[in-house]
């Protein structure tokens, strides 16, 4: 006999498959609508936040813009739907959004059990440390015996404990409820070290009275790869999102920027010619025009430009490239070639 729980499961499974099947033609729907439905956060410094004119800005927002540029030739043709952490996957499953670009960590569970696919990594995040400049500490291995300010209820707490135990070091956790209180505790000198995800550390650092009095250590002690997510069952759309990101990375690698992209169309370099659609049509396999990558680069820029503008040295956050540098510059960002 089916009990109540089974019925609910059946009903929800039916609902998800139905919507999944109906939305298999995401590309056609998007072209018909004339805009990409993109799920972003409800405000995360440097990743997605509305600016003074009401336009969304950020590293995650640039993924949406890149997809819109590739598909529709207009990076501004995006409907931004702000989602909180709880409803983000449902919104994607139910078809309310077609791309979820909301600083979502790629994990096994999310990738395999939710009917979703991660289309790549646009930011390698992880837990890092911020210390007062006066202490003269340059690496996480010098933190033995430190008092550490942590926000409670986050996975950070567990990861930090694991790291210190694994390295046979002691630490004194000082726990706070909210990020504002954590900054306040650090400011008041209640701890030597403040820990959080590196993407958040930069935002917390700005809120100090003297941001220059604190440094963010280069060490990252956990893996939090953040990337755009799409529904399973529509491989064309999956490819479009994946290769939009790769196009930005390849453009950085070959030195193509939004400034020089027009000159680069006459480049002799075969890699650049293929990227910009001058040699063959590599958008065809995705149902796109040959100039798909040209549109991305000219309207959104390459990965370096996007990073610098939103979270890097050109932004108030001033996050180092670090793990997010290209593979040939000491980071992890690696895009397969366009061939």
């Amino acid at each position: 006999m089916l009990n109540k729980k089974h019925w609910v499961l059946l009903a929800s499974a039916g609902a998800i498959t139905l919507t999944g099947a109906a939305n298999a033609a995401t590309l056609e729907d998007t072209v018909e609508r004339g805009a990409v439905q993109c799920g972003v956060s409800d405000g995360l410094p440097g990743f997605s936040a509305p600016d003074g004119d009401g336009n969304w800005q950020g590293l995650d927002v640039d993924v949406c813009r890149a997809v819109a540029a590739a598909v529709l030739g207009d990076a501004d043709a995006v409907n931004y739907i702000s989602l909180n952490a709880v409803e983000r996957f449902t919104a994607l499953q139910s078809g309310e959004v077609d791309v979820l670009s909301r600083n979502t960590t790629w994990t096994t569970t999310r990738d395999t059990t939710l009917g979703l696919n991660f289309a790549g990594v646009n930011f390698y995040d992880g837990i890092g440390f911020m210390v007062s400049r006066d202490l003269g500490i340059s690496g996480a291995d010098e933190l033995d015996g430190a008092a550490i300010c942590i926000q409670t209820g986050t996975t950070t707490e567990l990861n930090v404990a694991d790291y210190f135990r694994a390295n046979d070091m002691e630490f004194d956790p000082i726990v706070f409820d909210t990020s504002e209180q954590t900054v306040g505790g650090f400011q008041a000198g209640r701890c030597d070290v403040l820990t959080s995800d590196t993407s958040q550390l930069a935002a917390l650092r700005i809120q100090l009275d003297d941001p220059n009095g604190a440094v963010i250590l280069p060490d990252i002690i956990s893996k939090e790869p953040l990337g755009p997510v799409v529904r399973q069952g529509d491989d064309t759309w999956f490819n479009i999102v994946k290769w939009s990101l790769f196009a930005m990375l390849n453009a950085e690698e070959y030195g193509v920027t939004s400034e020089n992209v027009d000159e680069m169309t006459s480049s002799e370099n075969p890699d650049i010619a293929r990227l910009l659609g001058q040699d063959g049509n590599y958008g065809e396999g995705m149902g796109l025009e040959a100039d798909w990558a040209y549109n991305i680069i000219s309207q959104v820029g390459n990965y370096a430009e996007s990073f610098d503008r939103n979270v890097g040295m050109g932004s108030p956050l001033e996050i180092e490239r670090g793990a997010n540098a290209l593979w040939n510059q000491g980071g992890f960002q690696y895009a397969p070639p366009i061939r």
Partner: protein
């Protein structure tokens, strides 16, 4: 015998029984204990007020466009100033703001018209406010008709969205609440049990759960291809939720009318709707003004909960603006501004309800 034939001239009362001095003596310094409390109270006020005023006014920065214009010694109102348009209209496109302005203008004109007793044609204005204006406002704000560009609801926000949610909630909740309250007192078993179940269900779940169900679960159960707008989902949830509370407030008023009045009306041959509409409800609603306004005010503040389903009401847009990396660290200013705006609206509602009570007072006041 010598009689004093003239009256003693009137003299002013002793100076210590008149004016501010007397008031101070009577109310603040009437004994050693009260004097002590007064002084202690003044000291606490001094401790609280001086830093607040210094922060909010004296050391505050008012003029500028970027965070560098703020000295960080006091409040940085530059932030609120720079984001003011956004706080009012949300992410509504800048070029289309005139449409929102017309709606704002109409909204406040209609409210003023209905609230100021001297102005004529109240009945027609009320009909327009309840039927014509919402349609006109929707056409203007949403667009898509008469060559107006479409502005999807996810771009609506700020104070505009807060007022929209609150007024739709109020206008919807009051009639539904009245019907539910009458239904709950009805003798018809099906009507009665439906109303009881409806009211108890919506009062039994927290609003945050209702909004979550509407935004997270509902889309999964709807057939594909049918998607209900986020804002509409929130509006329906909010209205049904508040109508259950409203029903109970009004039922309280109905209970207070002696049964004899209804029986007398029935004896005169009045039908049910006449008895209710002419005898019971006018008295019940008048008595329940404080309770109804209480529900309205709590509804107005509850609208901030839509923030959790990704709609940027006034508080939501302030929080989103706080996460702009150019303006990190000004949360206090943002929240103080939001609190001030909410206070203005709630306080006005409260004052108007007190005025209404005095105006409608026909001898029940004790």
């Amino acid at each position: 015998m010598i009689h004093n034939q003239t009256m003693i001239d009137q003299r002013p009362a002793p100076s210590n029984t008149l004016g501010p001095v007397a008031w101070l003596r009577a109310n603040l310094f009437s004994g050693p204990l009260n004097t002590l409390f007064t002084l202690a109270g003044l000291y606490v006020l001094y401790l609280l007020l001086v830093p607040t005023i210094q922060w909010a006014f004296i050391n505050a920065d008012w003029i500028g466009t970027t965070r560098d214009d703020c000295s960080r010694e006091g409040a940085c109102w530059v932030f609120v100033n720079a984001r003011f348009t956004q706080f009012i209209y949300g992410l509504y496109p800048r070029s289309e703001i005139w449409r929102a302005n017309i709606v704002f203008g109409g909204f406040f004109t209609l409210i003023a018209w209905l609230a100021i007793p001297r102005l004529p044609f109240k009945r027609w204005v009320a009909v327009f406010a309840l039927i014509g204006f919402p349609i006109a406002a929707y056409v203007l704000l949403h667009g898509g008709y008469f060559d107006l560009p479409r502005v999807p609801t996810h771009r609506w926000g700020g104070l505009m969205l807060t007022l929209l949610l609150a007024s739709v909630g109020m206008i919807g909740a009051l009639p539904i609440g009245i019907v539910l309250a009458l239904g709950r007192r009805s003798n018809m078993p099906i009507v009665k049990s439906f109303c009881v179940i409806f009211i108890e269900f919506w009062r039994g779940v927290p609003l945050i759960t209702v909004l979550f169900m509407a935004s997270v679960m509902l889309p999964l159960f709807l057939p594909s291809g049918i998607s209900v707008d986020r804002l509409v989902r929130a509006l329906i949830g909010l209205t049904l939720f508040q109508s259950a509370y409203m029903a109970e407030v009004i039922r309280g008023g109905l209970q207070a009318i002696p049964k004899g009045q209804e029986e007398a009306a029935a004896a005169l041959g009045m039908t049910y709707w006449k008895r209710m509409g002419l005898i019971v409800l006018p008295q019940a609603l008048k008595m329940m003004i404080p309770g109804i306004v209480n529900t309205f005010i709590s509804l107005f503040k509850d609208t901030t909960l839509v923030m959790i389903i990704g709609l940027f009401d006034l508080l939501g847009i302030v929080q989103a603006a706080l996460s702009d990396s150019n303006w990190l660290g000004f949360s206090l200013e943002g929240y103080v501004f939001a609190a001030f705006v909410f206070w203005i609206f709630c306080f006005s509602m409260s004052r108007y309800s007190q005025y209404l009570e005095r105006k409608l007072n026909t001898g029940h006041k004790r």
